[in-house]
């Protein structure tokens, strides 16, 4: 029996603290048939937050295709999705945001983002084999922008390096739109044999709940609700958690050891947002059961903690283990070996209730289903007026570049195009001894030991494109990440995603979210890549201004034979260079338009039929061993793509007679989807042309590989000179020095 005192309806201030509207409060009270007590109110607020309950995005997310023969575990079923890659093996993966904590304390905010996504993967029983990070920063000529950027990169490296999980890829974009609200989306990929896949369900009454890892402190209380309201700057550092990657490494090894040596673990769940609350509720929800928690058994970091604080603490590096009744000691023996503290804190019940007790006194009693089914909201999808202002682009008003070589060098040094090495050399990208294509290529490629296979991984998402056309931006995020994977020779199989948007209660942001999901859905169907997991981060804004809508896609591909792979760098003097694909380069939404003219305008395009065809073609050419290199032609257009292949291979470009059908700047720096720059030996010309014809993909000859200069139409510059601009651009910007030139 529980005894719940009657409570006055809470004040606006209290409701704001738990991030519930008054309507939601009344809805909760109606469901309970009584007013919730303060502990219950905190639990409801956490579970109904956007972060845990997806109340604004759930109705839209269902539009993404999530089925396919390769899908073993789809979105929302477990902590992460799982894909069959053959040989009895599965890849488990997910991407998650840590935007708001990183805006307040960049190093720890980003580090704990990495820690959280790692736990999501090893709770599935999988060994993490790769991390990727999709980052968006505000301008780097601003001190705070550099503080955030350097802190975020440092935190990611600190956590991943210590864990011994290689950070093999990701992307970075810089724009004023992310000033004060950087994006940190961390993706983790794990490997597991099918039969080892572990659930996070709490099933079977009487089975025991073990809390293992760090002690529970007052850190991070209200992290989930903090991430679900705007203006993170108004909050304080107390809600940001501090990571301990060493503790997490012990948790990783201990959990995998228990799973491999006993069958005493029935379920594993990490403690993330809202800590013990969501972990216990979600486990019980998956099992269709209830749980009793005895909070006096929870090891504390601070004295005098209330049940409210214990339930909502977001102290890092904690896991909830469901152990078979009477076998908790078998599990705890392994935790002891690894020096980890663990306690039995409760058990699974058949009541369907979250029953929280503190020294025998009831602290909260709530139906599990009420907590897992957050109320959902839908809004009318209305096309915002700004879209008419930003497009179409009037080309006649734009002068062509006086000095194409100088414009080219300026573009190469842009923080959005320059070499990412200043960032990825701070990440251990080799540990694990699987990294075949390291950061800097189109997609990372990791061998799978004991098989001839490799997996290709890429993240992609373009806020500027999505801002100009949310549908095209959503579609392009899928298309480009899959194209990156295809450029290694791998076949895209499935994706995970993180949707970073402004407040869904603002009509423009809701339109962007809805249309971006439609675009992602269309591209995912065309490319036959279902979604298997994801995360939504809304309320990304500061000072009342929403960020550019930024869908981030993490794509997985499989390469059947590692020997039949392709890199982005030119490999041989005298090779032919050509562009595959029908995409027509345009200045709309291009980096060049932004750098040279300070404009964010135009109407980006995508044709999914062309996209599917060019990706099929490039994979076929790679498997047939006809190509020397393949590289996605994206930011900065053809000239930049050629330069990147030249730098990667240490060989020049000879394309002085490049055909210029229209405007020079469009040909050199215009961007489009569905284009791939390839090189191949002269002997392969006929075979490449024949394959392109079979797939109805246009092929445009560009020139030849060779020499020590980059010559593209009127551009003519020594390779070393261009490479210096490219390799120093981001490094100087992160250090607070203006780019050269």
């Amino acid at each position: 029996m529980t005894l719940t005192p009657t409570h006055e309806p809470p004040s606006d201030e209290i409701l704001r603290e738990v991030a519930l509207t008054r309507d939601e409060y009344h809805f909760a009270a109606d469901l309970l048939d009584r007013p919730p007590n303060p502990v219950e109110l905190g639990i409801i607020g956490g579970m109904w937050s956007e972060h845990c309950g997806y109340k604004h995005s759930r109705p839209l997310l269902g539009r993404l295709p999530s089925e396919g023969p390769q899908v073993l575990i789809g979105p929302g079923e477990e902590n992460a999705g799982a894909v069959d890659i053959g040989h009895g093996l599965a890849i488990v993966m997910k991407v998650e945001s840590h935007n708001h904590p990183s805006a307040v304390e960049p190093f720890q905010g980003a580090a704990t983002g990495v820690g959280g996504i790692l736990r999501d993967i090893f709770t599935m029983g999988a060994r993490p084999i790769a991390l990727l990070d999709s980052l968006r920063f505000g301008p780097l000529d601003d001190r705070r922008g550099r503080y955030l950027a350097n802190g975020i990169v440092g935190g990611i490296g600190w956590y991943g390096n210590c864990m011994g999980v290689p950070t093999v890829g990701g992307e970075v974009q810089v724009s004023a739109s992310y000033r004060g609200n950087p994006l940190v989306n961390a993706m983790c990929v794990g490997l597991i044999e099918h039969e080892q896949l572990t659930s996070a369900a709490a099933s079977g009454a009487g089975n025991e709940l073990i809390l293992v890892g760090a002690d529970t402190g007052r850190d991070g209380i209200h992290g989930a609700t903090f991430a679900s309201v705007d203006d993170p700057e108004a909050s304080h550092r107390g809600v940001v958690q501090v990571g301990n990657p060493f503790m997490e490494k012990l948790l990783l090894e201990a959990c995998l050891e228990v799973l491999q040596t006993t069958d005493a673990i029935l379920g594993l769940q990490d403690l993330g947002a809202t800590g013990l609350t969501s972990s216990s509720v979600e486990s019980a929800g998956r099992g269709g059961t209830g749980v009793v928690l005895n909070l006096e058994h929870v090891a504390r970091r601070a004295s005098g903690m209330t049940p409210y604080e214990v339930m909502l603490s977001e102290s890092q590096e904690r896991m909830l283990v469901v152990a078979a009744r009477g076998r908790a000691h078998e599990v705890q023996r392994v935790f002891d070996k690894w020096g980890l503290h663990s306690d039995v804190i409760g058990e699974v019940t058949e009541t369907g209730l979250l029953d929280v007790r503190d020294n025998g006194q009831s602290a909260a009693t709530l139906p599990i289903t009420m907590l897992t089914d957050a109320p959902t909201y839908t809004y009318p999808v209305e096309r915002p007026a700004y879209l008419d202002e930003v497009g179409p682009l009037d080309l006649d008003a734009l002068p062509e570049p006086d000095d194409p070589t100088s414009a080219f060098l300026q573009l190469l040094a842009s923080p959005n195009i320059a070499s990412r090495r200043p960032i990825y050399r701070q990440y251990d990208h080799m540990v694990g001894a699987n990294t075949v294509i390291a950061p800097g290529g189109d997609a990372a490629l990791l061998r799978i030991k004991g098989t001839p296979m490799a997996v290709a991984l890429s993240t992609d998402g373009n806020g500027r494109t999505t801002y100009l056309d949310p549908f095209v931006g959503g579609a392009a995020a899928i298309a480009e990440s899959a194209r990156n994977v295809s450029c290694t020779g791998a076949r895209a199989l499935a994706f995970t995603n993180c949707l970073n948007f402004g407040s869904p209660e603002q009509s423009a942001a809701y339109y962007q979210l809805s249309r971006a999901i439609d675009g992602m859905s269309a591209a995912a169907k065309a490319l036959e890549t279902p979604v298997i997991s994801g995360n939504v981060s809304l309320y990304n804004e500061s000072g009342g201004e929403a960020i550019w809508p930024t869908p981030v896609v993490g794509m997985l591909g499989v390469l059947d034979e590692l020997d039949r792979r392709c890199g982005a760098g030119f490999t041989a003097d005298g090779d032919e260079i050509a562009v595959l694909g029908a995409g027509r380069p345009r200045l709309d939404g291009s980096e060049y338009l932004s750098i040279a003219h300070g404009r964010v305008a135009g109407r980006p395009e995508i044709n999914l039929v062309d996209e599917v065809a060019v990706q099929r073609l490039v994979r076929e050419l790679i498997v047939a061993r006809l190509l020397s290199s393949a590289h996605d032609c994206s930011d900065g257009g053809l000239a930049v793509a050629l330069a990147e292949s030249a730098f990667a291979g240490g060989l020049g470009v000879q394309a002085p007679d490049l055909p210029i059908p229209g405007r020079l700047d469009e040909t050199l720096f215009g961007e489009s989807q569905s284009r791939i720059v390839v090189s191949y030996p002269p002997l392969a010309v006929a075979a490449v042309a024949a394959a392109a014809a079979t797939h109805s993909v246009p092929i445009t000859p560009v020139g030849k590989v060779g020499g020590d200069r980059i010559r593209i139409g009127p551009i003519d510059v020594p390779l070393a000179h261009a490479e210096q601009a490219w390799s120093q651009g981001l490094e100087l910007a992160l250090a607070g020095h203006a780019p050269p030139g």
């Binding site: 210590c162 011994g164 490494k249 050399r425 701070q426 990440y427 540990v431 001894a433 699987n434 075949v436």
Partner: protein
Amino acid sequence: MKAAVVVFPGSNCDADTLHVLGTVAGMDARYAWHADTTLDDVDLVVLPGGFSHGDYLRTGAMAARAPIMTAVRDHAARGRPVLGICNGFQILLEAGLLPGAMLLNDSTQFRCEWTHLRVESTQTPCTSAAGNGQVLRLPIAHAEGNYVVDPDGLAQLHDQDRVVFRYVSPDGERSAGANPNGAVDDIAGICNAGRNVVGMMPHPERASEAELGGEDGRAIWESLLAAAGA
């Protein structure tokens, strides 16, 4: 040849090292747990890279006091080979089995990148099959590889030919740009007076298979096998 890879809490190159010792070098390799007390059955002991004990206190300081280190000392005292890689090198320094200490890289940042090393002495079990002056391309991955030793200690290393590896440019010349961390005298690896204990910052286990970008690390394993056979 029997080899043991010691696993400390926080080691994270243990599996990679075991894989290479076994699959690539063909040794009979096993793990040893930090709380174990004997290594009598093995010919070679490798202390792998990673963040033992989270690098708390000082890198390698806590691992250097683990129970297994008594067995490592005994193993070394018998003249048998001990190789410390990266954090393993840091542990050997903290254990006093090698002289000197590590500072934060002069960049103040973690660095993961390919470097070139020159073999400065072939008079160790880890370099016996390498050529004197041979240049090896091996990756580093560390934040604290800025090796320091007092002037007397450095003179001793020189006089006794105990600098095993130096960072050099790809053509084998010493140059400021080739040293990735600021280590004194461009030192990347050293040995003890008995020459059987070797510590090195770069990771040969990451450069022993062509598909991972290079095979120069095999020189270390081939040397150890040759030395054991001799």
